[in-house]
């Protein structure tokens, strides 16, 4: 092949590569537009599609948002939104703390674990919301009972996964801990808890969902206050705007709570992701 011919092929190749690069870039931009555009289009469709809605179930988005602002940002913020969030947070934190503590205890001392395992498995299998009527029957429906009910329902997933996680601790790490004479507290803090943490988090996210469901159910079931109670009340009095405003708020809260959880998890488990990635790279 002479030099000129080589040059032409190279030029042709260059052009081909260039046009391919251009096409790839155009495609990437199109996808990005689609990604951001679709939710905006969906919202716009909701806004304009419902503008003159006469349907009793689906009021216009404009009205829903006005109701949302009026209800949640002003009237009911202190009396209903805050108590719901506080109840939920306290109950969830109790569930996690007790679940992890109890789980570690059960994992490290086997007779109680073997003793409690069948019982735990059964209680976990009961749909958490079904326990609510029992609580109501036993203790009435004060605020403390509600927090207790949320916490107890959310306890089991985190408890069971903590047990599994702690029992699965790498034996060699435990031998290392013994050789270096780590105190029981140090073993807990530096070996068992971190070793179990990936499992603990996977249980805790289930607990989070359960706590959210039980919180709303408990409010819908029989309460004068709380976001769930107001939303249910609006539904029962055919106040579609109020109901939609409630759904919107609950949806946003559900999303935010999950977001917060994911942020904490990514922070605490950054070592785990790194270790997993380096393992799969090998």
């Amino acid at each position: 092949m002479n030099e000129a011919a080589v040059n032409t092929t190279m030029n042709a190749n260059d052009e081909l590569a260039l046009s391919r690069k251009r096409r790839v870039r155009a495609r990437r931009i199109a996808l990005r537009v689609l990604e951001i555009g679709t939710p905006i289009a969906a919202l716009a469709a909701w806004w304009f599609g419902s503008q003159n809605s006469q349907n009793p179930f689906f009021p216009s988005l404009r009205e829903i948002l006005i109701e949302f602002r009026k209800l949640w940002l002003f009237d009911k913020f202190g009396s209903d939104v805050i108590p719901s969030i506080v109840n939920f947070s306290i109950a969830y934190i109790i569930a996690c703390v007790v679940g992890i503590a109890l789980g570690i205890l059960l994992a490290l001392v086997w007779p109680p674990h073997a003793m409690l395992d069948p019982v735990l498995q059964f209680i976990r299998s009961i749909p958490a919301v079904a326990l609510l009527p029992i609580f109501v029957a036993l203790f009435g429906f004060g605020n403390g009972v509600r927090v207790f009910a949320i916490a107890l329902s959310a306890l089991f997933p985190v408890l069971i996964s903590t047990v599994d996680g702690a029992r699965g601790t790498e034996p060699l790490l435990l031998e290392t801990a013994r050789v270096y004479r780590l105190t029981p507290w140090e073993r807990l803090r530096w070996v068992y808890l971190p070793a179990a943490s990936p499992q603990i988090f996977s249980g805790a996210v289930v607990s989070l969902q359960v706590a959210f469901i039980v919180m709303i159910t408990s409010e819908m079931l029989g309460s004068a206050h709380g976001i769930g109670a107001l939303t249910m009340l609006a539904q029962k009095s055919f106040d579609a705007k109020g109901m939609w405003a409630g759904i919107l708020l609950l949806g946003i809260l559900g999303y935010l709570v999950n977001l917060l959880f994911t942020l904490v998890q990514n922070r605490v488990l950054s070592w785990y992701r790194g270790a997993q990635q380096s393992e799969s790279a090998e």
């Binding site: 031998e175 290392t176 050789v179 270096y180 140090e186 530096w190 270790a275």
Partner: protein, 258 residues
């Protein structure tokens, strides 16, 4: 045996299994003097790892005794550290290098300066002072094993026990780590016991080599290695007496199998 730092006396070990008791170690007797490097070699599958679990106090022995500095060993003694073969599983993946090395020092309640100094010099002596912020899974195998050694060094044991410490690293790293061992012994005056299946390594490192045989394990012979010090990977290994010692150990192991 008056000046012996570690004394293993008629140690035996059996495990209870469903079909009855299985004896892994029949009778071990040897001693290690302060500042010595002693290697334990033997045919594969003879339970060399089990052998270490008794004198380190990780598992109870069935009969016999083990003493360190004249004291009976019951649990893991404070003047002993252990480096495992499986470095990937003996470092805490959730702690960075510095915190891994610090972990055994926490309950000693050392003055802050001394703790820092110990960690620093330990990491320094294994050449890992630049990686103290890294996590174990960001390091190569050889580097992880260096961290495990640094952790043992910062603990300042009298006796450092190593269970096939270099079995899973590449040959180049292996030579470096072997020299690191000798250097530690010289600079810190540590007594080192190494279990290995690599006879060259045993000869190169040791003052004495304990050869195991049969199953269940017994000590078939104990050899003094009179190679000159300091040792060097090239000159020491190319000596005629190195090859002779190596051959005689190989033969001892081969005979021990039958």
């Amino acid at each position: 045996m008056a000046d012996s730092q570690l004394i293993i006396d008629h140690l035996s070990k059996s495990y209870a299994t469903r079909t009855g008791s299985v004896q892994v170690i029949a009778d071990l007797t040897f001693d290690v003097k302060a500042g010595e490097v002693v290697s334990i070699v033997g045919p594969s599958g003879i339970g060399k790892t089990t052998l270490l679990k008794c004198p380190t106090g990780l598992q109870p022995m069935t009969s016999g005794s083990a003493k360190i500095n004249g004291r009976e060993i019951e649990g893991p003694p404070p003047e002993m550290a252990l480096v495992f073969q499986e470095y990937t599983r003996s470092l805490m993946p959730w702690l960075n290098v510095e915190k891994n090395v610090r972990l055994p020092l926490r309950h000693m309640h050392l003055p802050k300066d001394e703790a820092e100094q110990r960690i620093h010099s330990a990491l320094d002596s294994v050449g890992m002072h630049n990686a103290s912020e890294k996590y174990p899974w960001q390091l190569s195998g050889g580097m992880q094993q260096r961290v495990a050694i640094a952790r043992a060094l910062a603990f300042r044991p009298d006796v450092l026990i190593m269970d096939e410490p270099f079995a899973s690293v590449d040959a180049q790293t292996r030579f470096e780590l072997e020299d690191l061992c000798l250097q530690i012994r010289d600079s810190l005056g540590m007594t080192i016991v190494i279990v290995t299946h690599d006879i060259d390594e045993a000869v190169y490192l040791s003052n004495r080599v304990v050869v195991l045989g049969q199953k269940p394990a017994i000590v078939t012979s104990i050899l003094d290695i009179d190679l000159p010090v300091p040792r060097d990977q090239i000159t020491t290994r190319s000596r005629a007496d190195f090859a002779q010692t190596r051959t005689s150990i190989l033969e001892l192991i081969k005979n021990g199998k039958q």
